[in-house]
Symmetry: C2
Subunit: 175 residues, 2 copies
DNA sequence: CAGCTGACTATTGTTAACCATAGTCAGACC
DNA sequence: GGTCTGACTATGGTTAACAATAGTCAGCTG
Protein backbone atom coordinates (compact mmCIF):
# COMPACT_ATOMS: atom_id res chain seq x y z
CA UNK A 1 0.00 0.00 0.00
CA UNK A 2 0.91 3.64 -0.38
CA UNK A 3 4.24 4.53 -1.91
CA UNK A 4 6.81 1.82 -2.54
CA UNK A 5 10.51 2.33 -2.04
CA UNK A 6 10.96 1.98 -5.78
CA UNK A 7 8.23 4.45 -6.76
CA UNK A 8 9.54 7.41 -8.78
CA UNK A 9 8.40 10.06 -6.31
CA UNK A 10 9.91 12.95 -4.44
CA UNK A 11 10.47 12.68 -0.72
CA UNK A 12 8.38 14.92 1.48
CA UNK A 13 10.29 16.72 4.21
CA UNK A 14 9.63 18.95 7.19
CA UNK A 15 6.07 20.15 7.57
CA UNK A 16 5.18 18.37 4.32
CA UNK A 17 5.57 14.94 5.93
CA UNK A 18 3.15 13.26 6.40
CA UNK A 19 1.36 14.18 3.21
CA UNK A 20 -1.97 14.00 5.00
CA UNK A 21 -1.25 17.22 6.86
CA UNK A 22 -1.58 19.51 3.84
CA UNK A 23 -2.71 19.74 0.28
CA UNK A 24 -1.58 21.84 -2.62
CA UNK A 25 -4.92 23.41 -3.25
CA UNK A 26 -3.81 26.35 -5.42
CA UNK A 27 -0.29 25.37 -6.27
CA UNK A 28 2.01 26.91 -8.82
CA UNK A 29 1.27 24.21 -11.38
CA UNK A 30 -2.46 24.84 -11.08
CA UNK A 31 -1.85 28.56 -11.53
CA UNK A 32 0.28 27.98 -14.61
CA UNK A 33 -2.38 25.74 -16.12
CA UNK A 34 -4.98 28.45 -15.60
CA UNK A 35 -3.06 30.47 -18.20
CA UNK A 36 -1.77 27.93 -20.66
CA UNK A 37 -3.69 24.76 -19.85
CA UNK A 38 -5.45 24.36 -23.14
CA UNK A 39 -4.53 22.86 -26.45
CA UNK A 40 -4.51 25.99 -28.54
CA UNK A 41 -2.27 27.91 -26.12
CA UNK A 42 0.38 25.18 -26.15
CA UNK A 43 0.32 24.97 -29.93
CA UNK A 44 0.33 28.71 -30.49
CA UNK A 45 3.37 28.99 -28.22
CA UNK A 46 5.03 26.16 -30.14
CA UNK A 47 4.50 28.08 -33.34
CA UNK A 48 5.83 31.27 -31.78
CA UNK A 49 9.06 29.41 -30.96
CA UNK A 50 9.24 28.27 -34.57
CA UNK A 51 9.20 31.89 -35.64
CA UNK A 52 5.57 32.36 -36.56
CA UNK A 53 4.42 35.94 -35.90
CA UNK A 54 1.47 36.72 -38.14
CA UNK A 55 -2.15 36.21 -37.19
CA UNK A 56 -3.19 34.18 -40.22
CA UNK A 57 -0.10 31.96 -39.97
CA UNK A 58 -0.88 31.12 -36.33
CA UNK A 59 -4.45 30.14 -37.18
CA UNK A 60 -3.41 28.11 -40.23
CA UNK A 61 -0.38 26.35 -38.76
CA UNK A 62 -2.02 25.49 -35.44
CA UNK A 63 -5.14 24.38 -37.28
CA UNK A 64 -7.74 26.38 -35.39
CA UNK A 65 -10.36 28.81 -36.56
CA UNK A 66 -9.56 32.49 -36.71
CA UNK A 67 -11.88 33.19 -33.82
CA UNK A 68 -10.01 30.72 -31.61
CA UNK A 69 -6.65 32.11 -32.72
CA UNK A 70 -7.84 35.63 -31.98
CA UNK A 71 -9.13 34.75 -28.54
CA UNK A 72 -6.04 32.78 -27.58
CA UNK A 73 -3.55 35.28 -28.94
CA UNK A 74 -5.34 38.01 -27.06
CA UNK A 75 -5.25 36.00 -23.85
CA UNK A 76 -1.53 35.26 -24.26
CA UNK A 77 -0.87 38.95 -24.87
CA UNK A 78 -2.96 39.94 -21.86
CA UNK A 79 -1.09 37.42 -19.70
CA UNK A 80 2.28 38.69 -20.93
CA UNK A 81 3.65 35.68 -22.84
CA UNK A 82 3.29 37.41 -26.20
CA UNK A 83 3.49 41.05 -27.24
CA UNK A 84 1.65 42.53 -30.18
CA UNK A 85 3.75 44.88 -32.30
CA UNK A 86 2.86 47.06 -35.31
CA UNK A 87 4.72 46.62 -38.57
CA UNK A 88 4.26 48.07 -41.99
CA UNK A 89 5.33 46.83 -45.39
CA UNK A 90 5.72 49.35 -48.19
CA UNK A 91 2.43 49.97 -49.89
CA UNK A 92 0.46 48.23 -47.17
CA UNK A 93 -1.32 49.33 -44.11
CA UNK A 94 -0.11 48.96 -40.58
CA UNK A 95 -0.52 45.44 -39.29
CA UNK A 96 0.48 43.71 -36.11
CA UNK A 97 2.48 40.63 -35.37
CA UNK A 98 3.01 38.63 -32.20
CA UNK A 99 6.37 38.08 -30.52
CA UNK A 100 7.40 36.09 -27.49
CA UNK A 101 8.23 38.06 -24.36
CA UNK A 102 10.76 36.90 -21.81
CA UNK A 103 7.86 35.39 -19.92
CA UNK A 104 6.87 33.52 -23.05
CA UNK A 105 10.45 32.49 -23.76
CA UNK A 106 10.68 30.94 -20.30
CA UNK A 107 7.98 28.53 -21.35
CA UNK A 108 10.27 26.77 -23.81
CA UNK A 109 11.59 24.18 -21.34
CA UNK A 110 7.99 23.12 -20.72
CA UNK A 111 7.41 22.60 -24.42
CA UNK A 112 10.73 20.83 -24.82
CA UNK A 113 10.00 18.50 -21.93
CA UNK A 114 6.56 17.81 -23.31
CA UNK A 115 7.97 17.15 -26.76
CA UNK A 116 10.54 14.83 -25.22
CA UNK A 117 7.87 12.90 -23.35
CA UNK A 118 5.70 12.69 -26.45
CA UNK A 119 8.72 11.62 -28.52
CA UNK A 120 9.31 8.64 -26.31
CA UNK A 121 5.82 7.62 -25.33
CA UNK A 122 3.40 8.86 -27.92
CA UNK A 123 4.92 9.08 -31.34
CA UNK A 124 8.35 10.14 -32.52
CA UNK A 125 8.40 13.60 -34.04
CA UNK A 126 9.47 14.30 -37.58
CA UNK A 127 11.82 16.97 -36.27
CA UNK A 128 14.57 17.27 -33.72
CA UNK A 129 16.06 20.04 -31.58
CA UNK A 130 19.84 20.32 -31.91
CA UNK A 131 22.52 22.45 -30.35
CA UNK A 132 23.76 24.68 -33.18
CA UNK A 133 27.41 24.78 -32.09
CA UNK A 134 28.05 21.08 -31.60
CA UNK A 135 25.16 19.44 -33.43
CA UNK A 136 24.09 17.26 -30.51
CA UNK A 137 20.39 16.71 -29.76
CA UNK A 138 18.89 18.94 -27.09
CA UNK A 139 16.76 17.69 -24.22
CA UNK A 140 15.24 18.94 -21.01
CA UNK A 141 16.73 17.53 -17.85
CA UNK A 142 16.70 18.11 -14.13
CA UNK A 143 19.75 19.59 -12.46
CA UNK A 144 20.39 21.12 -9.09
CA UNK A 145 21.98 24.53 -8.71
CA UNK A 146 25.32 22.81 -8.07
CA UNK A 147 25.08 21.32 -11.53
CA UNK A 148 24.38 17.72 -10.54
CA UNK A 149 21.99 15.79 -12.78
CA UNK A 150 19.09 14.72 -10.57
CA UNK A 151 16.37 12.07 -10.84
CA UNK A 152 12.99 12.40 -9.17
CA UNK A 153 13.98 9.79 -6.59
CA UNK A 154 16.85 12.02 -5.45
CA UNK A 155 14.60 15.00 -4.83
CA UNK A 156 13.21 16.33 -1.57
CA UNK A 157 10.09 18.48 -1.51
CA UNK A 158 10.85 21.16 1.04
CA UNK A 159 8.56 23.81 2.51
CA UNK A 160 9.78 27.30 1.63
CA UNK A 161 9.86 28.38 5.26
CA UNK A 162 12.27 25.53 6.01
CA UNK A 163 14.41 26.16 2.93
CA UNK A 164 16.77 28.47 4.78
CA UNK A 165 17.24 25.89 7.52
CA UNK A 166 18.23 23.18 5.05
CA UNK A 167 20.69 25.59 3.43
CA UNK A 168 22.24 26.48 6.79
CA UNK A 169 22.53 22.80 7.69
CA UNK A 170 24.27 22.13 4.38
CA UNK A 171 26.64 25.07 5.02
CA UNK A 172 27.47 23.73 8.48
CA UNK A 173 28.34 20.31 7.10
CA UNK A 174 30.72 22.01 4.69
CA UNK A 175 32.54 23.78 7.46
CA UNK B 1 7.74 42.04 -39.42
CA UNK B 2 8.36 38.35 -38.89
CA UNK B 3 11.00 37.15 -36.49
CA UNK B 4 13.61 39.55 -35.15
CA UNK B 5 17.24 38.63 -34.62
CA UNK B 6 16.66 38.99 -30.90
CA UNK B 7 13.51 36.87 -30.73
CA UNK B 8 13.85 33.83 -28.47
CA UNK B 9 13.13 31.27 -31.20
CA UNK B 10 14.75 28.20 -32.64
CA UNK B 11 16.30 28.34 -36.07
CA UNK B 12 14.66 26.33 -38.80
CA UNK B 13 17.03 24.29 -40.93
CA UNK B 14 16.96 22.11 -44.02
CA UNK B 15 13.52 21.31 -45.38
CA UNK B 16 12.00 23.25 -42.45
CA UNK B 17 13.21 26.58 -43.83
CA UNK B 18 11.22 28.51 -44.93
CA UNK B 19 8.51 27.84 -42.37
CA UNK B 20 5.84 28.37 -44.98
CA UNK B 21 6.68 25.07 -46.63
CA UNK B 22 5.29 22.88 -43.85
CA UNK B 23 3.21 22.83 -40.73
CA UNK B 24 3.25 20.64 -37.69
CA UNK B 25 -0.31 19.46 -38.02
CA UNK B 26 -0.14 16.45 -35.71
CA UNK B 27 3.10 17.06 -33.89
CA UNK B 28 4.43 15.29 -30.84
CA UNK B 29 3.31 18.10 -28.53
CA UNK B 30 -0.24 17.89 -29.85
CA UNK B 31 -0.21 14.14 -29.31
CA UNK B 32 1.04 14.52 -25.76
CA UNK B 33 -1.65 17.08 -25.01
CA UNK B 34 -4.30 14.67 -26.25
CA UNK B 35 -3.40 12.49 -23.25
CA UNK B 36 -2.57 14.92 -20.49
CA UNK B 37 -3.83 18.26 -21.75
CA UNK B 38 -6.35 18.91 -19.06
CA UNK B 39 -6.20 20.36 -15.61
CA UNK B 40 -7.09 17.28 -13.64
CA UNK B 41 -4.52 15.07 -15.37
CA UNK B 42 -1.70 17.48 -14.57
CA UNK B 43 -2.75 17.77 -10.95
CA UNK B 44 -3.32 14.05 -10.46
CA UNK B 45 0.16 13.38 -11.81
CA UNK B 46 1.56 16.04 -9.49
CA UNK B 47 -0.05 14.24 -6.58
CA UNK B 48 1.28 10.90 -7.75
CA UNK B 49 4.80 12.36 -7.64
CA UNK B 50 4.13 13.54 -4.10
CA UNK B 51 3.38 9.96 -3.14
CA UNK B 52 -0.41 9.93 -3.24
CA UNK B 53 -1.73 6.50 -4.24
CA UNK B 54 -5.27 6.10 -2.91
CA UNK B 55 -8.40 7.02 -4.81
CA UNK B 56 -9.96 9.20 -2.14
CA UNK B 57 -6.70 11.04 -1.52
CA UNK B 58 -6.35 11.89 -5.21
CA UNK B 59 -9.87 13.32 -5.35
CA UNK B 60 -9.47 15.25 -2.11
CA UNK B 61 -5.97 16.61 -2.69
CA UNK B 62 -6.54 17.61 -6.30
CA UNK B 63 -9.88 19.11 -5.38
CA UNK B 64 -12.08 17.39 -7.94
CA UNK B 65 -15.20 15.32 -7.56
CA UNK B 66 -14.91 11.57 -7.25
CA UNK B 67 -16.42 11.08 -10.68
CA UNK B 68 -13.74 13.28 -12.25
CA UNK B 69 -11.00 11.53 -10.29
CA UNK B 70 -12.34 8.14 -11.38
CA UNK B 71 -12.54 9.11 -15.03
CA UNK B 72 -9.09 10.70 -15.07
CA UNK B 73 -7.37 7.94 -13.12
CA UNK B 74 -8.89 5.41 -15.47
CA UNK B 75 -7.69 7.34 -18.49
CA UNK B 76 -4.17 7.66 -17.07
CA UNK B 77 -4.13 3.92 -16.35
CA UNK B 78 -5.41 3.13 -19.84
CA UNK B 79 -2.75 5.38 -21.36
CA UNK B 80 -0.03 3.77 -19.28
CA UNK B 81 1.12 6.61 -17.03
CA UNK B 82 -0.35 4.99 -13.91
CA UNK B 83 -0.85 1.37 -12.91
CA UNK B 84 -3.60 0.15 -10.59
CA UNK B 85 -2.44 -2.37 -8.02
CA UNK B 86 -4.36 -4.37 -5.40
CA UNK B 87 -3.40 -4.09 -1.75
CA UNK B 88 -4.97 -5.42 1.38
CA UNK B 89 -4.74 -4.26 4.95
CA UNK B 90 -5.44 -6.75 7.71
CA UNK B 91 -9.13 -6.92 8.45
CA UNK B 92 -10.04 -5.01 5.33
CA UNK B 93 -11.05 -5.95 1.88
CA UNK B 94 -8.88 -5.80 -1.18
CA UNK B 95 -8.48 -2.29 -2.49
CA UNK B 96 -6.45 -0.76 -5.23
CA UNK B 97 -3.98 2.05 -5.36
CA UNK B 98 -2.38 3.90 -8.23
CA UNK B 99 1.35 4.05 -8.92
CA UNK B 100 3.39 5.85 -11.53
CA UNK B 101 4.80 3.75 -14.35
CA UNK B 102 8.06 4.58 -16.09
CA UNK B 103 5.98 6.37 -18.69
CA UNK B 104 4.38 8.40 -15.91
CA UNK B 105 7.73 9.02 -14.24
CA UNK B 106 9.08 10.47 -17.49
CA UNK B 107 6.48 13.21 -17.16
CA UNK B 108 8.22 14.73 -14.15
CA UNK B 109 10.45 17.10 -16.12
CA UNK B 110 7.30 18.57 -17.70
CA UNK B 111 5.78 19.20 -14.27
CA UNK B 112 9.06 20.59 -12.95
CA UNK B 113 9.42 22.94 -15.89
CA UNK B 114 5.82 24.04 -15.50
CA UNK B 115 6.32 24.59 -11.77
CA UNK B 116 9.46 26.59 -12.53
CA UNK B 117 7.63 28.78 -15.02
CA UNK B 118 4.74 29.28 -12.63
CA UNK B 119 7.18 30.03 -9.80
CA UNK B 120 8.69 32.89 -11.72
CA UNK B 121 5.75 34.28 -13.61
CA UNK B 122 2.57 33.35 -11.80
CA UNK B 123 3.06 33.03 -8.10
CA UNK B 124 5.89 31.61 -6.05
CA UNK B 125 5.14 28.18 -4.63
CA UNK B 126 5.13 27.46 -0.93
CA UNK B 127 7.42 24.50 -1.59
CA UNK B 128 10.71 23.84 -3.30
CA UNK B 129 12.41 20.88 -4.96
CA UNK B 130 15.89 20.17 -3.62
CA UNK B 131 18.64 17.72 -4.44
CA UNK B 132 18.78 15.43 -1.40
CA UNK B 133 22.55 14.89 -1.45
CA UNK B 134 23.72 18.47 -1.69
CA UNK B 135 20.66 20.47 -0.70
CA UNK B 136 20.68 22.71 -3.76
CA UNK B 137 17.41 23.66 -5.47
CA UNK B 138 16.46 21.59 -8.50
CA UNK B 139 15.36 23.03 -11.81
CA UNK B 140 14.63 21.91 -15.34
CA UNK B 141 17.07 23.09 -17.94
CA UNK B 142 17.99 22.45 -21.55
CA UNK B 143 21.19 20.60 -22.35
CA UNK B 144 22.55 18.94 -25.45
CA UNK B 145 23.79 15.38 -25.43
CA UNK B 146 27.33 16.71 -25.11
CA UNK B 147 26.34 18.26 -21.80
CA UNK B 148 26.35 21.90 -22.88
CA UNK B 149 23.68 24.14 -21.36
CA UNK B 150 21.64 25.49 -24.25
CA UNK B 151 19.28 28.44 -24.70
CA UNK B 152 16.47 28.49 -27.22
CA UNK B 153 18.41 30.91 -29.43
CA UNK B 154 21.21 28.33 -29.76
CA UNK B 155 18.88 25.63 -31.03
CA UNK B 156 18.28 24.41 -34.57
CA UNK B 157 15.09 22.63 -35.49
CA UNK B 158 16.21 19.84 -37.80
CA UNK B 159 14.11 17.47 -39.89
CA UNK B 160 14.61 13.87 -38.75
CA UNK B 161 15.49 12.73 -42.25
CA UNK B 162 18.32 15.24 -42.29
CA UNK B 163 19.50 14.39 -38.77
CA UNK B 164 21.91 11.73 -39.98
CA UNK B 165 23.37 14.17 -42.49
CA UNK B 166 24.02 16.76 -39.80
CA UNK B 167 25.65 14.10 -37.63
CA UNK B 168 27.87 12.93 -40.49
CA UNK B 169 28.84 16.55 -41.25
CA UNK B 170 29.77 17.01 -37.60
CA UNK B 171 31.84 13.83 -37.68
CA UNK B 172 33.65 15.04 -40.79
CA UNK B 173 34.54 18.33 -39.20
CA UNK B 174 36.02 16.42 -36.28
CA UNK B 175 38.27 14.40 -38.53
C1' DC C 1 -26.82 -13.18 4.66
C1' DA C 2 -26.48 -8.32 6.38
C1' DG C 3 -23.72 -4.51 7.08
C1' DC C 4 -20.04 -1.57 6.04
C1' DT C 5 -17.45 1.45 3.17
C1' DG C 6 -14.46 2.87 -0.42
C1' DA C 7 -14.63 3.05 -5.38
C1' DC C 8 -16.76 3.85 -8.63
C1' DT C 9 -21.23 4.71 -12.17
C1' DA C 10 -25.11 7.46 -13.59
C1' DT C 11 -27.54 11.66 -14.24
C1' DT C 12 -28.34 16.46 -14.70
C1' DG C 13 -26.47 20.85 -15.26
C1' DT C 14 -22.72 24.49 -16.14
C1' DT C 15 -18.75 26.26 -18.36
C1' DA C 16 -14.79 26.46 -21.29
C1' DA C 17 -12.91 25.25 -25.54
C1' DC C 18 -13.62 24.89 -30.03
C1' DC C 19 -15.97 24.76 -34.94
C1' DA C 20 -18.34 26.90 -38.82
C1' DT C 21 -19.83 30.88 -40.74
C1' DA C 22 -21.24 35.58 -41.47
C1' DG C 23 -20.33 40.19 -40.64
C1' DT C 24 -17.69 44.38 -39.17
C1' DC C 25 -13.71 47.12 -38.69
C1' DA C 26 -9.24 49.40 -39.50
C1' DG C 27 -5.67 51.27 -42.22
C1' DA C 28 -3.84 51.80 -46.21
C1' DC C 29 -4.09 53.29 -51.43
C1' DC C 30 -6.24 55.50 -55.37
C1' DG D 1 -15.03 58.56 -50.54
C1' DG D 2 -14.61 53.77 -52.43
C1' DT D 3 -12.06 49.61 -52.44
C1' DC D 4 -9.32 46.10 -50.59
C1' DT D 5 -7.98 42.76 -47.21
C1' DG D 6 -6.26 41.03 -42.98
C1' DA D 7 -7.83 40.90 -38.25
C1' DC D 8 -10.83 40.39 -35.72
C1' DT D 9 -16.20 40.15 -33.54
C1' DA D 10 -20.60 37.89 -33.31
C1' DT D 11 -23.58 33.98 -33.37
C1' DG D 12 -25.23 29.40 -33.08
C1' DG D 13 -23.86 24.79 -32.32
C1' DT D 14 -20.94 20.72 -30.48
C1' DT D 15 -17.94 18.53 -27.27
C1' DA D 16 -14.98 17.91 -23.36
C1' DA D 17 -14.24 18.96 -18.74
C1' DC D 18 -16.10 19.51 -14.57
C1' DA D 19 -19.59 20.07 -10.37
C1' DA D 20 -23.23 18.26 -7.49
C1' DT D 21 -25.65 14.51 -6.16
C1' DA D 22 -27.70 9.97 -5.88
C1' DG D 23 -27.11 5.28 -6.52
C1' DT D 24 -24.69 0.78 -7.26
C1' DC D 25 -21.10 -2.45 -6.64
C1' DA D 26 -17.33 -5.22 -4.63
C1' DG D 27 -14.91 -7.45 -1.03
C1' DC D 28 -14.47 -8.12 3.29
C1' DT D 29 -16.24 -9.30 8.43
C1' DG D 30 -19.39 -11.05 11.81
Amino acid sequence: MAELETDPIVRLTGALDPRGGWSASRCTIAKAIDVVGNRSAFLILREAFYGTTRFDDFAARVGVTESVAAARLKALVDEGLLVKRPYREVGERTRYDYHLTEMGADFFPVLTALMQWGERWREPAGVQLRHRDCGAPVHAELRCDQGHPVTVREIDLVPKSAAGTAQAAAADSED
